[in-house]
């Protein structure tokens, strides 16, 4: 445990001048449209921009920073699932005769966020071997975002997927129709409040195996590969 803490502090001290410079370039260029950036040194960079600066941020990344390789465009629904998602899932506990588990607060992840839906764009520079994840909040009362097709021709399918899975309108997309789902499908499956029907009609089979297990696993720890590796180390 102490080794882990030492490693953490060491990592915290590390700086990442390259990624800091990229973040600063975005901040300088986008001005008020730039909201936040977050860097994990040596690993990754996140930028959060205002929706109005979404296209400009992508254009800046592609034209000025050489990030011309389109990795993906996607979205996140930050709503805590009303159905529960971990092993203590409400659905399963209710099936097993327990009380319902309260739904937690909505929290957003790296680089923050203010709204339920967030767009994600990942671009990468093949020359510099640097990538950046650009996020933009989509206001709850107006679920729409401008299309990036004019910058990345490959945005077409990614944006269609976002449209059908999250129900976020892509403004300026010429061909907005379902990519995967059959015609006549109702709802947006990737939204957290869209029930996974198979999961609701049947309790998760995994829970049966897990329930009887001791918390620390001290008794049968010796049989696990973990214990073996510990033995070799010590």
């Amino acid at each position: 445990m102490s080794a882990d803490t030492a490693e953490e502090t060491q990592e915290a001290v590390e700086t990442d001048p390259v990624r800091e410079a990229i973040a600063k370039a975005f901040a300088d260029h986008l001005g008020e449209g730039f909201i936040e950036s977050e860097i994990i040194p040596g690993r990754d960079l996140w930028i959060r921009v205002d929706r109005s600066a979404w296209v400009e941020a992508a254009r800046f990344a592609a034209d000025r920073l050489g990030m011309t390789w389109l990795d993906f465009i996607s979205a996140i629904d930050w709503l805590p699932s009303p159905f529960g998602r971990d092993m203590e899932a409400e659905q399963d506990w209710v099936v097993h005769g327990r009380d319902e588990k309260p739904v937690g607060e909505q929290e957003t992840g790296t680089a923050g966020g203010d709204s339920r839906f967030q767009m994600m764009l990942r671009v990468y520079s093949i020359g510099e071997h640097q990538g950046v994840t650009i996020k933009a909040d989509v206001p709850d009362d107006d679920l729409s975002i401008p299309s990036l097709l004019e910058i990345f021709v490959g945005a077409n399918w990614h944006e269609r997927e976002v449209w059908e899975m999250f129900g976020i309108d892509i403004v300026g997309h010429p061909d907005l129709r379902a990519l995967y789902l059959p015609s006549g499908f109702e709802g947006n499956p990737m939204r957290k409040d869209y029930p996974l029907v198979a999961r609701r009609v049947k309790p998760w089979p995994g829970i049966v195996d897990v329930e009887g297990m001791p918390d620390d696993g001290a008794d049968d720890a010796e049989k696990t590969p973990v214990a073996e590796s510990e033995a070799i180390e010590s």
Partner: protein
């Protein structure tokens, strides 16, 4: 009747035939100016060129494609949604089925992303074994392509050699992991088991077999005149267009882009400790894509041998808790998979299951260029181009 007589007769017939063809050609020139009618050709969902169930609706003008559109979703299994109700160790079972001929490689980026969040690192021996199996997955995957591409163009022989020799590689993967296609062998913090006895020597002889197979393909397919005529200059992808569509892997390297995440990424797998070469080709056509993949397969066999020679000793699992709860955070890890760049954007909220997993698959982006690429080509070239892009449908639909 002498043979001379027959030849003379044939000559006359040939001349007549030529005159007839010439007259036809004149007629054809007239016909070009007449009104023609478009036609819609439906390819798939069941077609050998589709590696699953991809459907392509092509609007034709004569033999030329005016507009082609892939229609997906026949195999959409909703893995991104399903990951939200699976614990982290269970997710590897799912993601094995994304690119089902190079399954081992699907697990690795997800496990690395989870390890990033948990700040766990697998011991060196585990990383090296992972790399070896990763590359063997690549070999098994691309061997299928090397045979299959020829079969799309009418050369049936190559695919039998491919299936025959791929089996040796799959046997080796099976003897370590227990699964021919779906190893499910990675664990957060390491791998499930160590290598069985005698495996290293056997694998080396298999790698030699794979190299022999590559030489065979070099003669049988690459050196084949018909193959070259069908592939050279067909489906040319300029590098900049490929990047904007998010193409990756051999598809982009065949357009002259010298980029391979195994060399250029910051992955902790053993690739950086090996001596190997990234193959590129300047042409960007279907032939280049085949050629690059062929070289990569051969290169991968040398990589596997180097790994087996330099395999470090030590444990194969790091210390991880019995029940895996991944701390809150976000992590994106991508690796150079057989089909191209595959990435997992994992968002955790400190629970037993991921909050959201965005799966970036190579074939999805590789296929998204198809409408652009198929425009204006002739019907037989559709098969060439689709085969040379090399996609696995599970990798498009997820």
């Amino acid at each position: 009747m002498t043979t001379d007589h027959i030849t003379a007769e044939l000559d006359i017939n040939d001349n007549e035939q030529l005159r007839y063809i010439a007259a036809q050609a004149v007629d054809a020139r007239v016909n070009v100016e007449l009104e023609t009618e478009g036609m819609t050709l439906n390819i798939g969902p069941q077609h050998p060129a589709t590696h699953g169930t991809l459907r392509i609706v092509a609007k034709l003008d004569g033999e030329q494609v005016i507009k082609a559109e892939p229609i997906m979703g026949y195999m959409h299994r909703g893995y991104e949604k399903l990951t939200e109700v699976r614990t982290y160790p269970q997710v590897t079972t799912l993601v094995n089925r994304i690119d089902w001929v190079g399954s081992f490689a699907n697990e690795v980026p997800f496990i690395l992303a989870a390890e990033d969040l948990m700040e766990v690192e697998a011991p060196p021996r585990a990383q090296w074994i992972r790399t070896a199996l990763f590359e063997m997955g690549r070999i098994a995957n691309i061997m299928l392509f090397l045979g299959d591409m020829a079969v799309q163009l009418g050369g049936v022989t190559a695919v039998f050699y491919a299936f025959r020799d791929r089996e040796f590689v799959l046997n080796q993967i099976e003897s370590v992991t227990g699964g021919r296609f779906h190893p499910n062998f990675n664990r957060i913090g390491g791998i499930k088991d160590d290598l069985p006895a005698g495996w290293i020597a056997e694998t080396k002889s298999v790698m030699q077999k794979v190299r022999d197979f590559c030489d065979e393909m070099e003669d049988l397919v690459v050196g084949n005149e018909i193959f070259q005529l069908r592939c050279r200059g067909v489906g040319v992808i300029p590098a900049e267009v490929g990047k904007a569509y998010g193409l990756s892997g051999a598809n982009l390297r065949a357009s002259g882009v010298d980029w391979d995440l195994r060399r250029d990424g910051d992955s902790r797998l053993a690739w950086k400790d090996l001596d190997w070469k990234v193959w590129t080709h300047p042409d960007g056509d279907s032939f280049a894509r085949y050629w690059v993949r062929l070289q990569e397969t051969r290169e991968a066999t040398y990589m596997v041998e180097q790994i087996l020679d330099g395999l470090p000793t030590g444990p194969i699992m790091a210390k991880v808790p019995r029940i895996i709860k991944v701390p809150a955070g976000e992590s994106y890890v991508q690796t150079e998979n057989p089909l191209g760049v595959m990435g997992y954007y994992v968002i955790s909220k400190g629970e037993l299951t991921p909050f959201r997993v965005k799966i970036r698959t190579a074939s999805f982006s590789n296929m998204s260029i198809a409408p652009w690429l198929l425009e204006g080509v002739y019907v037989p070239d559709i098969a060439t181009i689709l085969a040379s892009l090399y996609f696995i449908l599970g990798d498009i639909d997820r």
